[in-house]
């Protein structure tokens, strides 16, 4: 039973707001790379989750086995993600792009790659859950307004900050840099980009690299936050990530972040304010997804499909 006093308790409300944002930031970080690849290349890369999972392991190898600090782990994991994504581009996507294959073929080939990557991870690391060394994050939370006030943990703070930093950085890359403009040109029309002297293949590789780097950041951060690294961690979050990407409009970077935060808030408030709400929170993501697709097939913040060349 949700206590009546809770419904009107402002601290409880604020606390859920904070927790909801943090929960959503996890989804947002995962969704960023996902949505980037779709936005630029029109590919639903279902191997993103496996890349993410391998990156978490890369971070684990660096930090737990080689005893490196967090920052090294983060960089290594991001670099590793970038490299894996580039390999994916060569193995699973480029061969399909060159021959005007059906639009859904890349999605299917990414499923194939994903199956292989998960199996390899199981073979390499076993399905045993791996943990980061403890003490990376201070377990004591911060309090705003005394210990009876609103609490924020370092992990929550980290993920929210990182998701915003990544969003801003990605936004900067896409909007303000030469490479970013080239990426947008390729996203709009590969033909027009080519006529401007842009090497489309190189831009695609760069895009995959960036997407992989984002997967890397997500892998190590979410791994750190949940401290639960296993070959199935990708598939656990994948469907939720997909829902977020749709919510934000496939390919819309800000949309992915807003969508992630929104989903986090909705889930949190469902749990917090509804009796047995936690039973239904999983359905919520998909019911929202379903409804949005029916009402606005391009997502809540999606642009018109007609713009695509």
């Amino acid at each position: 039973m949700v206590d009546a006093s809770l419904l009107t308790n402002p601290v409880y409300l604020l606390q859920n707001l904070v927790d909801g944002l943090a929960r959503g930031a996890v989804y947002a970080v995962f969704a960023l790379g996902f949505t980037l690849i779709f936005g630029v290349l029109d590919i639903v890369n279902l191997a993103h989750a496996s890349t993410f999972m391998w990156c978490a392991f890369a971070g684990w190898v660096v930090m737990s086995l080689l005893n490196m600090p967090l920052i090294v782990g983060l960089l290594a994991s991001m670099l590793f993600g970038g490299l894996v994504a580039v390999v994916l581009e060569f193995v699973a996507f480029r061969p399909l792009r060159q021959e005007g294959a059906e639009r859904l073929s890349p999605m299917i080939s990414s499923i194939g790659v994903s199956i292989i990557m998960v199996s390899l991870a199981e073979a390499a690391f076993s399905a045993q859950t791996k943990k980061f060394p403890s003490g990376v994050l201070d377990p004591k939370p911060l309090y705003i307004g005394g210990t009876d006030g609103v609490r924020v943990s370092w992990g929550q703070l980290l993920i929210v900050v990182v998701s915003i930093v990544l969003m801003v950085a990605l936004g900067y890359l896409i909007r303000r840099t030469r490479t970013g403009m080239a990426i947008r040109a390729v996203a709009y029309s590969q033909r027009a980009a080519r006529l401007l002297g842009i090497n489309v293949n190189r831009v695609v590789v760069i895009t995959f690299f960036v997407g992989g780097v984002l997967a890397g950041a997500a892998g190590i951060l979410i791994g750190l936050l949940t401290n639960n690294i296993s070959p199935s961690m990708g598939s656990d979050i994948e469907l939720r990530g997909l829902a977020v990407v749709i919510l934000g409009g496939l390919g819309n970077i800000e949309g992915a972040v807003v969508g992630g935060l929104l989903l986090g808030l909705v889930e949190t408030f469902t749990i917090a304010y509804f009796d047995q709400g936690s039973d239904y929170k999983d359905a919520i993501a998909f019911i929202i997804l379903f409804l949005i697709l029916l009402i606005r097939p391009n997502g809540l913040f999606g642009r018109q499909e007609a713009n695509r060349a």
């Binding site: 039973m1 949700v2 206590d3 809770l6 308790n9 409880y12 606390q15 859920n16 927790d19 909801g20 943090a22 929960r23 996890v26 391998w54 392991f57 890369a58 190898v61 737990s64 086995l65 080689l66 590793f80 490299l83 894996v84 580039v86 390999v87 060569f90 193995v91 199981e122 390499a124 690391f125 076993s126 399905a127 045993q128 859950t129 791996k130 943990k131 403890s134 377990p139 939370p141 210990t147 609490r151 943990s153 293949n201 590789v205 936050l225 949940t226 401290n227 639960n228 296993s230 070959p231 199935s232 598939s235 656990d236 889930e267 949190t268 749990i271 917090a272 936690s278 039973d279 999983d282």
Partner: protein, 454 residues
Amino acid sequence: MKKGRVSTRFSFLAVLAMFSMTLLGACGDNTATVPAPTTAVLPTTAAASGATTAASTTAAASGATTAAAGATTAAASGATTAASTTAAASGATTAAGGTSAAASALTGQIKIGAIATLTGNNSPFGIAIKNGFDLAVEELNNNKYLGDATIQLVTLDDKGDKQEGISVMTKLLDQEKVVAVLGPTLSSTALAADPIAQQKGIPVLGTSNTANGITEMGNFVFRDSLPEASVIPGAVAAVSAKLKPKKAAMMYESTNEFTKSADDVFKAELQKNGITLTGNEAYSKGDTDFRTQLNKLKATSPDLLIVSGLIGEAVPIVQQAREVGITQPILGGNGFNTPAIYQQGKEAAEGVIVGSAWFLGSTNPKSQAFVAAYKKKYNTDPDQFSAQAYAGAYLMATAIKNANSTDPKAIRDALASIKNFDSVLGTFSFDANRNPVHNPVVVVVKGGKFELYQ
């Protein structure tokens, strides 16, 4: 062209990185493995009553002649009636028809099947279980437990898949002609595959199946893993006796049959102990954030938090519970019974109470010997799954020995009549429904390791 080469170099680098990680990972495995339990098993206490009723001595250690042993056990287990008597008779016949050895009719290799989940998500359990089987069989054969006869264990992987489980069960029975089966790892697979053994009259002993309905499948289906219903009452009773909580709040993973049924048992036990349930919040596998549920539960100001979950989420739940300010004791389900809880949970895990079938620090000499042998062979601590598997192999061997026969029916009857067997899990008996009866333990995390909760 040039760019092409650059990208090729990139991919080469990545492949190299993946490869080296694979190597590192493989090496890392041996040193850094944390036995992480999860799926399917739970221990108990209510068993205490069962144990007392069944305190009929006899058979267990008796190296007596087959026919005699058969008769005694049949008599001892009041529940088993005509069926077991005839079985005993047939056991005797086989024995007679066997070799001329005076003490034992057993020779050559005796094939026992094992089904474990060695691939996929749940493979950590399957691997721990397989290790337990292998260690036990190795010891049994080295110590000539069955005299001249040796046990040949045929282990097959069910991949955590029900259809595959049915297939390998069929294969073990029809093709390998095993006389008994250990496993399968997951309750869901057992529910699918065990009826085959039942139908063909081959005894099957689950060492990690704790779901409801397992032994109800038939009189050839056994388990040595305490179901939730056996472990949880003891744990709740112990906590209730010591802390006298008035109100308790609960969290459980809603998508898993094991955690869900544990949750149901917890609920029932709370009621029995007169503890008010203030809230029961669900979460799903792979969730990362439990603060909202915990926060909501905290607002109900419980005296006790009960968590029915698997280890993957157990650690973050415990940590986040402390973070949101739930300072009350936490009682964990069986998923918590792993060193990972304190190795990873650190200070947050202090005071976490777990009810369990077995724990690493047990003072039972059998258990201590097992831990030492396991550590020597696999270079890591065993977990509860290994222990139950190890116990299972010994139980099966003992049944064969007692039956002095490789006739499955005789083995079944001998298995059913095992009472007060001195096992790694403690003094062990099967009850009339072929469920395990032994004292579960309640442990608490103190100073970074498990201690008995008293």
